[in-house]
Symmetry: C2
Subunit: 444 residues, 2 copies
């Protein structure tokens, strides 16, 4: 019966069976020490000369070998206590050793600083570092918190397809697919489906991969990423969606505090504080601030450039002490056809982006729920409404005022952990040059 | 402040604000009644002649219109109690009415039996029926139970890409993609990634869409479906994976009992019973039974035909009283190259399928974790190991004995609810002929 490594704490005198990876081996001639790692932690195991068979085997052990061993737990002498690891007051004297799997010579020193390219080339191995494990443990907890929060709010989770016949946001930047004898596309978002599902469940969320065929190679773009999507009905306007996101972010950070204290300690980071009321300004106000405070003239632009987003976040930090700021009221022509126009602010929409530490992590807003208005808008966008007849059914047969948002999981993870590149927060990131290995190497 | 419909129970004398869809309207001349539905239930609302303004508006109300109304809750007279609905002892006398959204004439009588084709053509509307809502509520709870169970067992959730450069299970039945200047594929399963992640977290799960370009048009196949995947290390063999699935299924059904009693009552179904120990037989034993009990000669086949699966399930029900049966030890040549061979049963593998009510809902088993053995096997399959060099890193640098499984969510949902066609258990099912609308209509 296996004992997890963290559970040897306090078990002095007891026999245990441990399984894990060799994290380090120190050969002192008569004595061999290894650090054994499993999912719960690290412990020191000592091979004593009194146990010849295990000791002989232990001589072969190398980094990343996988072993099963039995032994007796003891309390370390005071001068041998290692406060760096949780089990540091204990060690295990091995009685038997079985090698479950060997490892070849490792490609680079795992303690060394490696380039992102090297990291990506060697992910199946490189992800084993404590840093990577912590990043993706935190990511898993973000997803869990997102779900728990929404389930508490009576949202229903839905699974929706990614192969689509029409493109949600217009024709650009979409991956094409051979679908039997037809052409199809990879969905840029679950937008249409989550809206349809508001007609069924009022409140829905969905988590899944989305696809952007953007020819970017930046620190903030991925061509395939995980979108945390929600949509709900019977709202007053976009501010209900913003309020929900505000509450959601408070919940996520609280959850991380409870579940990932150890991981954040590793990074030596504070978990971001979310204000009870995240500041919100209109795009035009943001542009005015950029002009007045930073001398940047972008008042005729329909959107913020990445550098502007960074500056507005700087401003929000200074002015409101907030890592987050909502930008609202993007112009009609800059948002998709389903975005609700603000009749009190003609030419602008009840839409928002949420910026967090210099980057947009959410797009959301109120949607047009009135069938006629939606059809008219589609025509204004020079699209044939017939193309969206399936989607339009949802509105033809009665849809409440509704809205929603999408959060990019990798960007949120990246910014919570102040990682330089979004690729560090994505398992097996897809970009223009790489699908696991470099595409250039595939073509050979 | 909105009150949910179910919360009017016991609130006689109180004023409430309700929002929802008109589920029915009964015009009795002086009195107009509507059934109002929201996500929590249905309630009767009465428009009394004393309130002229609301009454006038109410005359226009039609099926599926979306409204907001205020009114006073009262207890119905004894002879007016409706036991069919949870709020049936109460009703609301409307004081004001606001129409949030109108609906056009509906395309068919929602109470009528419609064909699956008609259902699929009209999904955004047709999914609003109680039956569909119940199916997908139950599906959401299956997913939730899957996750909760695994999180309790210290599995970590991972998000992995679906765009891949190599095909996991061989070249057939895969969707091709234009990926910038390269060709790529849609993943048939997250197999490689979940295995890699065992090296990082020991125990992982992932939920996502998978893709099969099979030219099938059956009641059991989808071309895009949701796969519930798990993988874990430090196993003895495939029986650990089967035991975990057994426990998982017990957990899921218990969870459904707690969360979906109302939904199952609608179907008039019992939640399936999962034996504490699901019976398990080798493929060859199954074939022998088919021969002896049913006169079917398939002993030279490497797999079971759909009709054989149905018969073996019949047998399991009769013999063991079980809706579930594991079939183990598929021949080496029938399973992917990473499947662990059974050295005590040469030519056969430590793999299994789980059959449930006549259909395979799971494939799983122990995987080859030894690097050299895996490379040799890839060569035996006449594949260049270089093609899988990225994946192979995980094994080159130390991997414990490991295994896992995948459950098809739609099939599991289908069979729990005894639905005839798997499409009834998939939101917006993709098949050879349809992406929301018929592909033939697209080509026009």
């Amino acid at each position: 019966m296996r004992t997890l490594i963290k559970d040897i704490i306090g078990k002095e005198g007891e026999s245990v069976e441990l399984m894990g990876w060799v994290d380090a081996r120190r050969d002192h001639g008569k004595l061999i020490f290894i650090d054994l790692r499993d999912r719960s932690g690290i412990a020191q195991v000592v091979f004593l000369p009194s146990n010849k068979e295990a000791g002989e085997l232990a001589k072969d052990l190398r980094f990343q070998w996988v072993v099963k061993l039995s032994g007796k737990v003891s309390r370390r002498p005071k001068n041998m206590i290692n406060l760096e690891i949780e089990t540091g007051e204990f060690e295990v004297a091995a009685e038997s050793l079985e090698i479950l799997s060997r490892a070849e010579e490792i490609p680079f020193d795992p303690a060394a600083e490696i380039s992102l390219e090297t990291f990506l080339d060697w992910q199946p191995f490189a992800l084993r570092t404590e840093k990577s494990r912590n990043i993706f443990k935190i990511q898993a907890e973000i997803v869990r918190a997102f779900r728990n929060f929404l389930i508490e709010k009576e949202f229903v989770e839905v699974q929706v397809p990614k192969i689509v016949a029409q493109v949600t946001e217009g024709g650009a930047n979409v991956f094409k697919l051979d679908y039997f004898d037809s052409k199809a596309y990879l969905a840029q978002s679950p937008q249409f489906y989550k809206q349809i599902m508001v007609g069924i469940f009022e409140r829905v969320f969905t988590i899944g991969n989305v696809y952007r065929a953007e020819e970017h190679s930046t620190t903030r773009h991925l061509n395939e990423y995980t979108s945390l999507d929600l949509e709900f009905g019977f709202i007053e306007d976009h501010s209900d969606v913003m309020d929900l996101e505000n509450e959601l972010l408070v919940y996520i950070m609280d959850h991380l505090k409870k579940t990932c204290a150890r991981e954040f300690k590793f990074f030596n980071f504070e978990i971001p504080k979310v204000p009870q009321k995240i500041p919100a300004i209109k795009l035009r106000e943001a542009q005015k601030i950029l002009k007045e405070k930073y001398g940047i003239d972008c008042q005729n632009e329909p959107d913020l450039e990445p550098s502007h987003e960074r500056q507005i976040c700087e401003y929000a930090k200074k002015e409101f002490g907030s890592d987050f700021i909502f930008i609202t009221h993007y112009p009609v022509e800059k948002r998709p056809f389903y975005t609700f126009p603000d009749k009190d602010d003609l030419g602008y929409t009840k839409s928002f982006d949420l910026l967090f530490r210099g980057i947009e992590i959410t797009t959301g807003g109120q949607r047009i729920h009135d069938y006629q208005m939606l059809v008219e808008n589609i025509k204004k966008w020079k699209i044939d409404p017939e193309k969206f007849s399936f989607y339009l059914q949802a509105f033809k047969y009665g849809m409440p005022p509704e809205g929603g948002l999408a959060i990019g999981l990798e960007r949120l993870t990246q910014k919570i952990l102040n990682l330089e590149n979004v690729r560090e927060a994505a398992l097996f990131p897809r970009d223009m040059n790489r699908i696991d290995i470099l595409l250039s190497s595939l073509k050979k």
